[in-house]
Symmetry: C2
């Protein structure tokens, strides 16, 4: 459903949120280990999240990634997905037809619309905090 990059991005964000709630910064090494993802690739994804203001980075010694505690409940999964994959997930025709739209719908248009709306709603109404609160620090959950 999502690209690998996006999966890693969501998992990483949840882990960072979890740590930020405890006032801990985390680096790519720790993140990758905890969410079981390739380190360098994860670092690239984190850069994208930083550029798109999803997570905050602090450079230099004792640096790392964090999320402002007050922002954790307003960052939606949709923001993460958009930062990494753009809005291709629930955009465009399911059959890849460029000119399919409301005025000139392809045969599957209405059917896809429902599913996409459901996905969009889910991503836009799920915030990082509600996900993080399902876990507690030390859980191996994001790993397996």
């Amino acid at each position: 459903m999502f690209s690998k990059a996006c999966e890693y991005g969501i998992r990483a964000s949840i882990f960072i949120a979890l740590n930020s709630l405890e006032h801990r910064r985390v680096g790519p090494k720790e993140i990758a280990k905890e969410i079981n993802s390739p380190e360098a690739f994860t670092a690239k994804i984190l850069q994208a999240l930083v550029r798109n203001n999803v997570v905050n980075s602090v450079k230099g010694a004792h640096g790392g990634f964090e999320i402002d505690k007050k922002d954790i409940k307003t960052i939606m999964i949709a923001d993460i997905v958009k930062a990494i994959d753009g809005d291709n997930v629930y955009k465009g025709c399911g059959l890849g037809l460029h000119e399919c739209n409301e005025n000139k719908p392809c045969p599957m248009h209405e059917k896809f619309k429902l599913v996409r709306a459901e996905l969009k709603y889910m991503l836009e109404s799920t915030d990082l905090e509600s996900l993080a609160l399902d876990l507690k620090l030390g859980d191996t959950f994001l790993k397996v």
Copy 2:
């Protein structure tokens, strides 16, 4: 949402169904032209559909691809997707976690479940005939 291969596969199947309803066999050249897809790649995809009994092929002179008229209404989009992409579309954890399941759900498990169920239902309840009947032969619909 789907791979290119899958998009071409669905479009090709609709076009073949449309023609089979009129007792015409079609070849990869005509199919590719009509659904605006790369010919050789489309031919590969058609092979997969044949192997998985979604469409029928007739070799030799005057051969081509067709679908038994009586099967058109029982072939579901889910069958096409499964033949090409396997059942990865609505299988597996949305976050890519291998051990996420009903017993040990990841934080997004319940949320994804809804969307996936919707997608699954849509694909499993949409048959080729209902799609083909939305179109008529000669429509440029599958092209754009």
